[in-house]
């Protein structure tokens, strides 16, 4: 096997040290958590690697009804945590167990998935749907909703900052995630994550996100608006399915075509809504 081009390896003791090392390399270093993305295709310009798995960022905590998850927490650790199964109607358990095979989940971290933000990935769609917020430490401590961040040049930000924590807000209701892939642990050809909160006979809030379109997961605010205040049920889900089919932005890539994605996005949203509603009831 070839060497990776990495010349120096550092275990950061804390975020500050990671940052000062990053600064010292002036762009020639990268942070390493799970390593799945960094080492799959090592960048030629990376000379130094700064391991941040030993700075105390691996945890899953309940936080004001939601969850706070340390950036270097592996997907396996999230799945195994006490708090995750109950959150958002069990969304994390069902969505993360469809992401990559177990040995990769033993390595891949939530922060890595957030920062890599692959367009075909499931986690960005889930984070956007959940309204997750990320906290980081750069020159100063910052925080922003993931959705907002993805609208900016976030990759540049994380070359100079350490993602610390992902905060998942409390939701009274439930979410569900749908995914189509070629094999079970494949990347998504298309995914959807939807959540609903009910107030008696009425939908109080709704979240709808579709990803791997082939672009990264984004919310469909018009679909959410079409749901809020309405009576949940098959008819409404069908209506939203048609709405998504007519308005969702999709494209072609080598894995699937736009026409199929358009049609299927509606189906996945409908199914996710139906399942979320079902979970919310129980």
């Amino acid at each position: 096997m070839r060497l990776t081009g990495i010349r120096r390896f550092h275990f950061a003791r804390d975020a500050e040290e990671a940052l000062s090392l990053l600064a010292a390399y002036d762009g020639g270093a990268a942070l390493l958590a799970g390593g799945v993305d960094l080492l799959r295709s090592p960048r030629g310009d990376i000379e130094g690697v700064i391991d941040i798995t030993r700075i105390g960022l691996s945890y899953v905590r309940e936080s004001r009804g939601g969850l706070a998850i340390g950036a270097t927490t592996t997907l396996t650790e999230i799945l195994a945590s006490a708090a995750a199964p109950a959150y958002a109607g069990g969304l994390l358990a069902s969505a993360l167990s469809q992401v990559a095979a177990p040995p990769l989940r033993n390595m891949a971290t939530l922060g890595g998935a957030l920062v890599s933000a692959h367009p075909w990935a499931d986690i960005p769609t889930v984070l956007v749907a959940l309204g997750a917020e990320v906290r980081w430490q750069g020159e100063k401590v910052g925080k922003a909703p993931v959705e907002e961040l993805y609208g900016t040049a976030f990759r540049g930000l994380f070359r100079r900052a350490v993602a610390l924590e992902v905060v998942l807000p409390p939701w009274e209701g439930a979410f569900a995630h749908e995914k189509i892939s070629r094999t079970r642990y494949d990347i998504a050809l298309l995914n959807a994550c939807c959540g609903l909160g009910l107030d008696g006979e009425e939908i109080r809030w709704a979240r709808v996100a579709v990803g791997a379109r082939p672009n990264r997961g984004e919310r469909l605010p018009w679909a959410e608006e079409a749901l809020i205040g309405r009576k949940p049920g098959g008819e409404l889900w069908n209506e939203v399915q048609r709405l998504v089919e007519s308005r969702v932005e999709v494209g072609d890539d080598r894995r699937a075509g736009a026409a199929w994605r358009r049609r299927t996005a509606g189906v996945l949203v409908r199914r996710a809504l139906a399942r979320a509603a079902q979970r919310g009831e129980t």
Binding site: I180, T183, R254, T264
Partner: protein
């Protein structure tokens, strides 16, 4: 059955694989597990262009890279036209390849090679080789290749054996029997199907790799992951210009083959780098290189037309094939021939048969041998057409097969007309349990109850489909295998075979065949295989040959050794050999009851009286190729809304004669079926408009994982092949021929859409179901 009259008890038992204990312990058994001090690393510079002439190669900067020891390119390597296809002689594939050419013909074609002290130095050197190309228009489909005025891919004057280079046709076959066109026109009922298979990959988990080094006598040793060590030796000698007597080829354990290692790819390059540097050289393809620069299945478009009487008797059969052999014609003719020769005899009743096909060059990766070897492509179209015909006739698809398949004692003119690159050999079928396969398979899947029910489960609709297939057991008139069996002084045995165990278990099976004859447990037979210095010749592990061809050679050697043992015992006991029997490691006289153990006999022959080595070498040339048969049944569920297809259950019932090692035979079926399911559902190499492979890796070329595999039920239905060793025929390939048509037919049963282009992706299925806005 013959087996029951024998007392060794080895045949028909799933004994422990002879190489199993060391494999599960992770011992260093594979090609690259051997560290040879001072080894250089070899690497290949691939062409970035699909079609170009090389104007110049400048290696001066590359030579300056510290640690670089040799650079090969067309300017410093003799030009010897050859074929990379590791086949018997005369080689049926065209000599359209040279080690380093002045032209590149696909993205990934070999431009130059380096040997360096480290992988990094080799990579650095490759990056510094300057090549000037003159771009030529690429041909990216067989249709373009055949278009008038198309650029000529093989315009080199020294190529040999190309059917029609000026029209990019590597090989062509045309076999008319009777008048199929007229018979089709007159047939009361007809059906037609055109099915397409894309580029797909064997995806052995071990990439191709080799170490070339010199032994203490200065001879070149090529340790390589190959299915054909003897062909490697012959071809490497010719291509690098070395006396074959100076070359030893060793095949250690290898990590899968499926046909992709029936190809001589890295060996001559490593050999030449070793010769130029005088140093050991290791080479391995990266996974990406395996995808683009090893071999693939031949993409094909196959059209089948069937004409039948109203009661379902096939009267005319027409098969038209357009095969894409890629940039070079490795196996172009023989794979093409097998599309017909391994399929059409299955329905031998039709008096009118026309098989017509062409294999054409394109500027895409090179196709080669892949399990099924054309039959897989042929059966896809044939068995979908049969499903259509059954529907038109209002006949159960199983019943339609029953009325037409070949029976024991019958023949097909195809056997004689189509061989491997030449005429075939007339033969009759001496064993066939397809009737039982059909009965058992149908029963197991619940054919009567479940077919046509379109059972729904939310958006999922269930359907059932089936298909039949046969293959062969070795290549008639071509394959030859030899075995040497030696009795040791302690009464145990050494079995030396040229046969090549790819993981199939052939070392074990061959030991069982010998042990059965010798009346000893398998662990008394030590097997050493696939070493051109120490084992006798064998054409290699391909064409489903090893159990049948190599097995027969082993059986002959064993029966010779058995006779010698009885002779020694007869002399020792003072009795006639005919009065003696050999069982459980003891020779006993039926007359006197006196006995001698094998260990006493070995000791006596070695040290005591009338001293000699009890040993025999025997060979077997393949006079006929008895087909194994299989019936495939599957249940699928189709998501009408998304087009996702799930294979719920897959039943395969196969007749491989007597299964020497039932567990290994089942394993061959299970593995072949899952590869076929991969072909059906997800496997396809994709190319850019300039011919670059877009998914050369497991990230984006998906092969089924354990979660994608349905419950596969492999059922062995015994028959007894009178010409086979202990009644055995082959099993390794036949299982891959069924999944494509069976799944396509099951999708049709579920949702009424005919899937004729593999793989049946959600998108394609959804489109087939109806208009997508």
């Amino acid at each position: 059955m013959a087996v029951e009259t024998q007392q060794g008890g080895a045949v028909g038992q799933s004994v422990r694989k002879v190489d199993g204990p060391s494999l599960v312990a992770g011992k260093p058994l594979f090609t690259l597990d051997l560290d040879i001090p001072g080894s250089l690393v070899g690497a290949i510079l691939p062409s970035p262009h699909a079609h170009a002439r090389i104007v110049s190669v400048d290696t001066s900067a590359a030579e300056q890279v510290p640690g670089v020891r040799a650079i090969l390119h067309h300017g410093n390597v003799p030009r010897v036209p050859y074929t990379t296809a590791g086949q018997g002689w005369p080689e049926p594939s065209p000599y359209d390849t040279v080690l380093f050419d002045t032209k590149v013909r696909f993205v990934g074609d070999r431009v130059a090679a380096v040997a360096a002290e480290t992988e990094d130095a080799a990579a650095e050197a490759l990056a510094r080789i300057r090549v000037e190309y003159e771009l030529l228009p690429p041909i990216l489909s067989p249709e373009e290749a055949l278009a008038p005025g198309a650029p000529i891919i093989h315009d080199e004057p020294d190529a040999e054996g190309i059917y029609d280079a000026s029209h990019n046709i590597a090989a062509a076959v045309d076999i008319p029997i009777g008048d199929a066109a007229a018979a089709l026109a007159a047939a009361p009922v007809t059906a037609e199907a055109t099915c397409e298979i894309p580029y797909s990959q064997h995806a052995t988990i071990e990439p191709h790799c080799v170490i070339a080094y010199f032994d203490d006598a200065g001879r070149l040793v090529v340790r390589t992951s190959t299915q054909v060590p003897f062909h490697v030796r012959r071809i490497v000698a010719r291509v690098v210009g070395l006396d074959p007597a100076r070359i030893r080829v060793v095949k250690p354990r290898i990590g899968g083959g499926f046909g992709s290692k029936q190809e001589v790819l890295l060996e001559p390059v490593a050999a030449l780098l070793a010769l130029r540097t005088g140093r050991p050289v290791r080479m391995a393809y990266t996974r990406q290189e395996v995808f683009v620069a090893s071999r693939t299945r031949h993409p094909m478009k196959v059209t089948v037309r069937l004409g039948a009487t109203k009661d379902g008797a096939l009267h005319a059969l027409e098969m038209d094939v357009l095969s894409n052999t890629g940039a070079y014609g490795a196996h172009a003719l023989t794979v093409l021939s097998n599309v017909g020769s391994k399929t059409l005899p299955l329905y031998n009743k039709a008096p009118h048969v026309h098989f017509h096909g062409r294999a054409v060059y394109t500027n895409l990766p090179v196709a080669g041998a892949y399990r099924g070897y054309g039959a897989t492509q042929g059966y896809f179209a044939l068995e979908v057409a049969m499903d259509k015909l059954a529907e038109k006739l209002g006949l159960d698809p199983v019943e339609l097969r029953r009325r037409n398949y070949i029976r024991v004692g019958e023949t097909s003119p195809i056997f004689e007309k189509i061989g491997e690159g030449r005429e075939g050999t007339a033969q009759i079928v001496r064993s066939c349990a397809l009737e039982e396969c059909l009965r058992i398979g149908a029963e197991r899947i619940g054919w009567r109850e479940k077919r046509g029910q379109r059972r729904e489960e939310g958006p999922w609709v269930h359907g059932l489909g089936m298909a039949c297939a046969m293959q062969g057991s070795g290549i008639t008139g071509v394959d030859m295998a030899a075995a040497t069996l030696v009795m040791q002084d302690d009464g145990s045995f050494r079995l030396l075979v040229g046969a090549t165990d790819l993981g199939t278990g052939s070392d074990t099976i061959l030991a069982q065949i010998a042990a059965q004859e010798l009346g000893v447990p398998v662990d008394r037979v030590l097997v050493y295989s696939s070493d051109t210095d120490f084992t006798p010749f064998d054409t290699g592990a391909y064409a489903s040959s090893t159990t049948y061809v190599s097995g027969n050679a082993v059986l002959r050697a064993a029966s010779d050794v058995r006779a010698q043992i009885l002779d020694v015992a007869a002399a020792a006991l003072g009795e006639r050999a005919s009065a003696l029997e050999l069982a459980a490691g003891v020779v006993r006289s039926r007359k006197s009851g006196k006995s001698l153990t094998l260990s006493e006999i070995g000791h006596r022959a070695t040290y005591v009286t009338d001293q000699r080595q009890i040993a025999a070498t025997a060979s077997f040339a393949c006079p006929e190729s008895p087909p194994p048969f299989a019936a495939f049944f599957c249940e699928v569920a189709v998501d009408r809304e998304t087009g996702v297809v799930r294979v719920e259950r897959f039943v395969v019932a196969a007749d491989c004669g007597v299964a020497i090692h039932p567990q290994a035979a089942e394993g061959q079926l299970e593995g072949a079926v899952l590869q076929g399911i991969g072909h059906a559902l997800c496997e396809e190499m994709l190319f850019s408009p300039r011919g670059r492979c877009l998914n050369a890796g497991f990230f984006d070329y998906k092969i089924p994982s354990s979660l994608d595999a349905p419950a596969i039920e492999a059922i062995l239905v015994p028959s007894e092949e009178p010409t086979g060793p202990w009644g055995a025929k082959s099993i390794s390939e036949v299982g891959i021929n069924g999944p494509l048509p069976a799944i396509s037919n099951a999708i049709y049963d579920a949702v009424g859409a005919r899937m004729v282009r593999a793989p049946f992706t959600p998108e394609r299925v959804r489109f087939a179901l109806g208009v997508i806005p």
